[in-house]
């Protein structure tokens, strides 16, 4: 059961049950949909980027499993206040770290970024990595203003 406890840590369950920044965002400048065709999970990520290229607000809506919702909730917590370039670097770092291609990569962002380590449990569950990276792919798409939905495929 240890691996399971690793996957469903308290922090993950907390964010899954009470997602932060949940709902549409007024005045959003960037948004993108993330779809996981495997399970049908769908979420929409909203960003409000100011003149200085700083993300001054972020939110998400949609439905998904505990892992994808918690990951989106942690993402919004982390990127608010971040500049766009750092957010893109974080996307790279998180996806590389979670897909196991660079398990040691540190994610910049201080204490809030430390919380992302709670997602590390998915590395033992190959079929669930996509759940954890879904919101991050949506972040990447939103910043790059891609018009097609981001998928985990």
């Amino acid at each position: 059961m240890n691996e399971l406890r690793d996957l469903y840590r308290e922090l993950i369950l907390d964010h899954a049950k009470s997602p932060r920044h949940f709902g549409k965002l007024d005045g959003a400048t960037h948004w993108a949909e993330g779809i996981n065709p495997l399970c049908g999970d769908k979420l929409k990520l909203f960003l409000r980027v100011d003149d200085k290229q700083t993300i001054d607000s972020a939110s998400f809506e949609g439905s998904g499993c505990a892992i994808s919702v918690a990951s989106a909730s942690l993402l919004t917590d982390l990127v608010i206040g971040m500049d766009v370039a750092t957010a893109l670097n974080t996307f790279d770092a998180v996806t590389t770290r979670l897909t196991g291609r660079g398990a040691d990569i540190d994610i910049a962002g201080g204490l809030k970024a430390e919380k992302l380590r709670a997602l590390d449990g998915v590395r033992e569950f190959p079929s669930r990595v996509k759940c954890a990276t879904l919101a991050w792919h949506a972040l990447n798409s939103a910043i790059n203003n891609r018009s097609t939905p981001a998928t985990t495929e």
């Binding site: 996957l7 505990a66 079929s127």
Partner: protein, 415 residues
Amino acid sequence: MILAPQRNASAVSVADCRSDFPALHQDVNEHSIVYLDSAASAQQPISVIETVANYQRHDHSNVHRGVHTLSHRATDAYEGARDKLRLFINASSRSEVILTSGTTESINLVAQSFCRPRVGDGDKILITHLEHHSNIVPWQLVCEQTGAELVVVPMDDRGELDLDSFDSLLADNVRFLAVGHVSNALGTINPVKDMIARAHAHDVPVLVDGAQGVPHMQIDVQDLDCDFYAFSGHKMFGPTGTGVLFGRESLLEEMPPYQGGGDMILEVSFSDTVYNELPYKFEAGTPNIAGVIGLGAAVDYLQSVGLPAIAQHEQQLLKYLTGELAKIEGLRLIGTAANKASVQSFNVDDIHPHDLGTILDHQGVAIRTGHHCAMPVMEYFKVSGTARASLALYNNRDDIDQLVEAIGKARKIFA
């Protein structure tokens, strides 16, 4: 030819057949495996595995071509499997048994070769709300290509089709009906024989998607009076990449080939090609020879156990499964039709099916989670997906007890 050991007719009792399936004798995540995902793909008995291996080891060659011994052996075994499949579904002739890669190809063949040339603007193709995507999308393609309209028979909240609506829909320019025999997501057994009779009264030809029908009940295409019946090998304990399209011979004769290539021709020149006779007209290219021979062994296996005995066993287990699941607090059963095959969808509390699937897998319990390639069904029940336990001849009460215990653990984690 070296044959795998065959069991005598009715030599296998359902209670003993679990031992015939090697995949069910292993530990997964340090628990004895509990396989409750046969509706996605059923495990194969040793007789199927050995038949395929023996063919590969001793008899492999291409079919319908060579004059040499191996080619004869391969052809005999391949065509022998077709004969077994003909008897299995009681088709009146082997010309009516087209070997395909599976239900999906069978349905696409009918959509493109039979339906597409026959429909146009103002015509309607009728399907039902219960269909798997593979019995929706091929018809949508035909509609896009021809201007025909796709119309859907509604269902109720138990997952039963509304037959009154069916009758009124049928009367309105319907040119074709495609209906699933058994819903893969909900387990509903549709009254296809009755539906076919009603459709024929309006001169509407009918395809039955039997992917989920064949493992659970004796199919008799003549008794059903269907025009087409499609099914897959891997749902009935055979290899993947195999399937059958039964088609009424008079209709198959009228239809153009679906794919061009070798084996489907009699004579080719650059000005003209003469197509081969049925069933080969629809079998272009080298087929999945080993898989089809394995499918023949799966037919032997099913008949040695006996479909009536299998159905009885599964119905008893389904009753036990449904009863035990219903006792779990916070569990919602989805799909509660009166007449069902051994498939049960459910959701537990607010636990996402994907999370439930992971936690169950960690306890050795394999179920299917998600939308089951039936998104319209999920939409009807206002869920993004469900957990689904599906039972086959090799399951028993212990499997269900393990499932219930594992669900209890999931509820604790998410409490």
